[in-house]
C-alpha cells in the first residue's frame, strides 16, 4: 500500500500531496451514498411534473393512482396543509442601494398554477420506484395552458406574459452599482468599444443526481434525513423551520455525495421538503432518487444573460471605465436571491484597474426552471464580458492583447483593492492580495505566446492550417462567510476525530482537513477520521459552496487543532512537570525534550477525562476543542488560462493543442487535490464553452433533456493540461488559503472565444465572437457570415 510512502512537505503536512483517506471506500464500492440507504419499511416516491411551462391546473384526479396496488399515498397541493406556502428565501438579496427586489419563491407542490416544465404537482409514495412511476401515469390532470415567457429578452418586455401576478412585468430585481464617473470617463476616452454579449451557463449535472431519504421514528418523534446535499447543517435548520420541528429532533446526514457544483446547496427543493414531510406523515421511511430525466428540469440551472457592455480607454489602451447593463434569466422563482447576477456584475472588474464603473442588471422572471449558482456562479458571464471587451479594444487600438492586459493589471503594491461595490457576501468587493502581472507573464511564457504568434502561427497559416491562441485572466472572490466550525477530539485509542458542518462532494476534505490536524498533533493524516456531513456530529455551519471549504472550514479546523495542541501540551507538561515548550508532539506521542519520557496521545486523552478529581473552573475535560472561523470578507484568488487550438476549416471541429493554467490560490493544503480541482473546473468550462447547451423552445419545452443531447465532455474532448501556480497568501486567514473550487471553470469561455476567433481570423472579416456556448455549427455560421 502507498500509505508507507506518505511524506510531508518539508516538515509539515500542509502543502503535501497526500493521497486521500476516503479513496479505499470509494474505490471498493463500500462508500455509502443516499441511494444505498436501506430500511425494511422504506417506501419510494415519484413526482408528477408539469408538462407545461405555464398553465392553470383546472383539476387533478388521483383516485386511479391511489387505487393501484402497491401505492401507499398520493399527495397534491391540497394535502399539504400549512406546508403549502411559499418556501423561505435561502439567500436574501444583497444590500445594494436603491435595489428593487420582488421575492417570489415556490411552494412544495404547485397549487393553482405551474410556472415551468417540470414543476411538481403531485407526489406518489409506493412500495417501489417502479410502482410509483406506474402510478404517475394514473393521475389525471386538466390543464389550461397560458402564454409562455420563454426567451429572456422577450420575457423582459413590458407586454410579455406575466409569470407572477402583482408585479410590474417580470422584474425580479433591478440593481445598479457604480464607482467613479463613467460618463466623464467615456467623454474623455480615446476609444470606446460597445457590444452585445449573450452568455449561457449550463447545468451542473453531477454524476449522482439529487437524492433524499427520511425515516421518522414514531417512538422518539425524531427524524433522520439522508440527503445528497452540500449543506447538511443548513438543510437541518431549513427543514426544522418549514416542518415545525425542533432542530434537535432532526438529524441530517450527508453521506458520500456524488458531486454538487452548487445545485445541491439548500434550495428548499420541493422534494427536499416533501420526502421528510411524507416520512413523518407516514411514520416510516421514504426515499426519492432523482432520475436523470427529472434532473434536467427539477434541479436548478444557471442559464443566460444578455449584456450591453462598453469599455472606455485612453490612447495608451488604459481602461478609463466599464459600463454594462444586463438582463439575467432568473427562472420562475428566486429562492437564491441575487447571488448569480451580483457575481456577474462584480466579475466585470477582473484583475484590472477600472477607475469608473456603472452597471445595472435586471433579473427577469421567466417560465423556466429556477436559476441558481453552478460552479462559477455568474462569474463566467462577467469575466466573458470584460475579457472580450479587452480583446476587441486591443484589436481596435492595435495593441497586442497580452500587452493591453498587462498595462491594465492591478499591481502587487495596490492591495488591498476596494472596488466600492457590494459583492455576494454583502461586503464591499475587496481584493486582499495577488500578483497578477506574475501570473499573466507565466501563462504567456508557458504557452509560448510570442513564439507562437511570431513564428509558429504564420508558418502554420501559410500551410493552410487554422490555428489560434488565447490568453485570459480572471479573479475569483472565494471563501466568503459567514462562518464554519470544527471539533477536534483526541480519542482514547489514539486516533483523532474531526467533525465539521461543511459537506463534502469530492473535494477531498477527509484528507486535506486531516492534514491540518496532523500538523498540530504530530500524527499522520491517516490517523484523523473526518466527519463532514452529520448534524449529530457537528451542527453549525453554512455549507460547501462558493469555493469556501478549505478557506473557511479549513481555518476552523486549524484553529480547533491548535487549541487541542495547546491542551495536549499543557496536560503533558503537567505530567512531565515541565514547561509546555519542552513538550514535543510527534508520532502520536507527547514527548519530553529533556528526559525523552513519553505519553501516547490516546493515553493523554484518557487522563484528560479523569474518573476522580475535578475539572477546574475555566478548563474543559477531554483533549477536545470546538472552534469557529468567520472571515470578514471573501479572499480573492486569481489566474490566467492560455490555449492553442486548431480548427478544421471545413468542418469547424476543434482540437486543443495546448492548455495552460497558471493560478494563485494562496497556500495549497494539498497540491494533488488542488490540481484535481483545476482539471475538473477546466473540463466544466470547456463543456460550457463548446459542448453543453441548454435548449428550450419558445414554449418552454426542453429540447436537450438527456445526456445524449446535453453534451458533457468526454475523455476525448478534454485535453491534457499543464498547470503552474504562484503563491500569494491570503491576508484574511492565518493559513493564507484562497479558494480554488470554481477557479478552473471561470475563464474558459472567453479563452475559447479569443483563440477560435484567432484561429479562424474572424476579425479580418468583421466578425466578433460575442456569445457562449459555441459549437461547430455556430462557428461555421460565423465563419461564413451568417451572423
Amino acid at each position: 500500500m502507498s500509505d508507507e510512502t506518505l511524506s510531508r512537505s518539508g516538515d509539515s503536512w500542509l502543502g503535501a500531496s497526500v493521497t486521500r483517506n476516503e479513496d479505499p471506500q470509494l474505490l471498493t464500492g463500500r462508500a455509502l451514498f443516499v441511494g444505498d440507504i436501506k430500511a425494511a419499511d422504506m417506501r419510494h416516491a415519484a413526482f408528477l411534473r408539469s408538462p407545461h411551462a405555464h398553465a392553470l391546473i383546472e383539476r387533478i384526479d388521483t383516485s386511479r393512482a391511489t387505487a393501484r396496488p402497491g401505492v401507499v399515498a398520493v399527495y397534491t397541493a391540497e394535502d399539504l396543509g400549512d406546508l403549502m406556502r411559499p418556501m423561505p428565501m435561502v439567500v436574501p438579496p444583497a444590500p445594494v442601494e436603491g435595489l428593487v427586489f420582488n421575492q417570489r419563491t415556490h411552494t412544495p407542490l404547485a397549487g393553482e398554477k405551474v410556472r415551468y416544465v417540470g414543476e411538481p404537482v403531485a407526489m406518489v409514495v409506493a412500495e417501489s420506484r417502479y410502482i410509483a412511476e406506474d402510478a404517475l401515469a394514473d393521475i389525471e390532470v386538466e390543464w389550461a395552458p397560458l402564454p409562455v415567457a420563454g426567451d429572456l429578452e422577450f420575457s423582459a418586455a413590458p407586454d410579455a406574459p406575466q409569470v407572477h401576478d402583482g408585479l410590474a412585468g417580470n422584474v425580479a430585481a433591478i440593481a445598479r452599482q457604480s464607482k467613479g464617473d463613467y460618463a466623464a470617463a467615456r467623454a474623455s476616452a480615446h476609444t470606446v468599444v460597445r457590444r452585445r454579449f449573450l452568455y449561457e451557463h449550463g447545468m451542473a449535472q453531477p454524476m449522482e443526481t439529487r437524492a433524499i431519504a427520511a425515516r421518522f421514528d414514531r417512538r422518539t418523534d425524531q427524524m433522520t434525513v439522508w440527503a445528497s446535499t452540500q449543506a447538511p447543517t443548513s438543510l437541518r435548520g431549513g427543514l426544522a423551520a418549514v416542518l415545525g420541528m425542533g432542530e434537535s429532533d432532526l438529524r441530517v446526514i450527508a453521506p458520500f455525495v456524488g458531486g454538487g457544483f452548487g445545485v445541491k446547496v439548500l434550495m428548499y427543493y420541493p422534494e427536499e421538503v416533501l420526502i421528510p414531510w411524507a416520512a413523518r406523515r407516514l411514520a416510516g421511511a421514504v426515499k426519492w432518487i432523482e432520475d436523470r430525466g427529472e434532473h434536467f428540469l427539477a434541479t436548478t440551472q444557471e442559464r443566460g444573460q444578455i449584456h450591453d457592455a462598453e469599455i472606455a480607454l485612453d490612447a495608451d489602451g488604459r481602461i478609463l471605465g466599464v459600463k454594462d447593463d444586463f438582463l439575467h434569466d432568473n427562472g420562475a422563482y428566486n429562492p437564491y436571491g441575487l447571488t448569480v447576477p451580483i457575481n456577474s456584475q462584480c466579475s466585470l472588474f477582473g484583475p484590472y484597474d477600472v477607475p469608473a464603473f456603472d452597471s445595472t442588471f435586471t433579473a427577469v422572471y421567466t417560465n423556466m426552471p429556477i436559476a441558481s449558482p453552478f460552479r462559477g456562479a455568474g462569474r463566467q458571464h462577467g469575466v466573458f464580458v470584460i475579457e472580450r471587451l479587452i480583446d476587441i479594444a486591443a484589436r481596435e487600438t492595435g495593441i497586442d492583447r497580452v500587452e493591453m492586459r498587462r498595462r491594465n493589471l492591478l499591481q502587487p503594491g495596490d492591495f488591498p483593492v476596494n472596488h466600492k461595490v457590494i459583492f455576494q457576501d454583502f461586503t464591499e468587493l475587496t481584493y486582499d492580495s495577488g500578483d497578477y502581472p506574475a501570473v499573466l507573464a507565466r501563462a504567456a511564457e508557458k504557452i509560448g505566446y510570442r513564439r507562437f504568434i511570431e513564428d509558429e502561427q504564420p508558418a502554420l497559416r501559410a500551410a493552410g492550417r487554422c490555428v489560434g491562441i488565447g490568453i485570459v485572466n480572471y479573479v475569483e472572490g472565494t471563501g466568503i462567510g459567514p462562518y464554519e466550525g470544527a471539533r477536534v477530539q483526541v480519542l482514547a485509542n489514539g486516533r483523532v476525530s474531526l467533525a465539521t458542518g461543511a459537506g463534502t462532494q469530492g473535494q477531498g476534505h477527509f484528507t486535506s482537513f486531516a492534514q491540518l490536524v496532523a500538523d498540530q498533533l504530530g500524527i499522520s493524516p491517516r490517523e484523523v477520521d473526518v466527519t463532514t456531513g452529520d448534524t449529530d456530529r457537528f451542527q453549525w455551519g453554512a455549507g460547501t459552496f462558493a469555493s469556501r471549504g478549505a478557506v473557511v472550514a479549513g481555518n476552523a479546523v486549524h484553529a480547533a487543532a491548535v487549541a487541542v495542541r495547546g491542551k495536549a501540551l499543557a496536560l503533558a507538561a503537567a505530567e512531565f512537570d515541565c514547561e509546555p515548550a519542552d513538550v514535543l508532539l510527534e508520532d502520536g506521542v507527547a514527548r519530553h525534550r529533556g528526559s525523552n519520557r513519553l505519553i501516547p496521545l490516546g493515553e493523554l486523552a484518557q487522563r484528560a477525562n479523569p474518573m476522580r478529581g475535578a475539572v477546574r473552573p475555566g478548563a474543559e475535560p477531554g483533549l477536545e476543542s470546538t472552534q469557529y472561523f468567520g472571515p470578514e470578507m471573501g479572499t480573492t484568488a486569481s489566474g490566467a488560462h492560455a490555449m492553442i487550438v486548431e480548427v478544421d476549416p471545413e468542418t469547424l471541429m476543434i482540437t486543443i493543442r495546448d492548455y495552460v493554467v497558471v493560478h494563485d490560490c494562496g497556500t495549497a493544503i494539498n497540491p494533488l487535490i488542488v490540481a484535481g480541482q483545476i482539471h475538473g473546473g477546466v473540463a466544466q468550462g470547456i463543456g460550457n464553452a463548446f459542448f453543453e447547451k441548454i435548449v428550450f423552445d419558445s414554449h418552454g419545452q426542453l429540447l436537450s433533456g438527456s445526456l445524449a443531447d446535453y453534451l458533457l465532455p468526454t475523455s476525448l474532448d478534454i485535453p491534457r493540461m499543464t498547470l503552474d501556480h504562484t503563491v500569494t497568501p491570503s491576508t484574511l486567514n492565518e493559513l493564507g488559503i484562497k479558494g480554488v473550487g470554481e477557479a478552473g471553470a471561470i475563464p474558459v469561455a472567453p479563452l475559447f472565444a479569443q483563440a477560435l476567433e484567432d484561429a479562424l481570423q474572424l476579425p479580418a472579416r468583421g466578425v466578433d465572437i460575442l456569445e457562449i456556448p459555441l459549437s461547430p455549427n455556430r462557428l461555421w455560421e460565423l465563419a461564413t457570415g451568417q451572423a
Partner: protein, 164 residues
Amino acid sequence: MSAGTVKVVTRVNGIEYEREVEPRLLLSDFLRGHLDLTGTRVGCEHGVCGACTVQVDGLPVRSCLMFAVQVNARDVSTVESLAAPDGTLHPLQQAFRDRHALQCGYCTAGILMTMSAFLADNPTPDEAAVREALSGNLCRCTGYQHIVDAVLDVAGSPQRERPE
C-alpha cells in the same frame, strides 16, 4: 397483461444467486437492491454516463440497459470483485488512489470495470487508446487527466505531451 415474475440464476462475483424478479427489473437495480451490491452506481439510466458499467461474461456493459433476467446463466462482475478479500486494492484501484483519479467517486466503479477489462485486452496502451476506451464513461469532477494517468501507470506507458 400480467407480467408475473421470472426466475434468475446468476453468478455474481463468483457467488451463485437465485431470485424471482419482475422481467422489467433493470440489472442495475437487481445488483443494488436485490443483491445489496451497491458499489455499482446509477447515473442516468439511459446508457450514456457509464457509471453503472459492470462486466457480463467479462465484457463491460451498461447495467441500466439490461434486464436482470438477461443475466440468467451468466457471469457478472462488479466493482466489489476487484480488491482482494484482505482489502488489498487491485492495481488499477491503487493507481487511482496514487494519482487522485477520483473526486466524488460516483463514476469510479463504472470506470474501473471498463478500464480493468480494457487493460486485460490491451496491456500496454498509449494515451490515445486509453482516452478512447474511457470515452464511454462520464466523469464530472476530474477532467479525466488523473484517470488517464492512473491507467497509463498500470500499463507502464508514458503520458503524451500534445495531441497528435
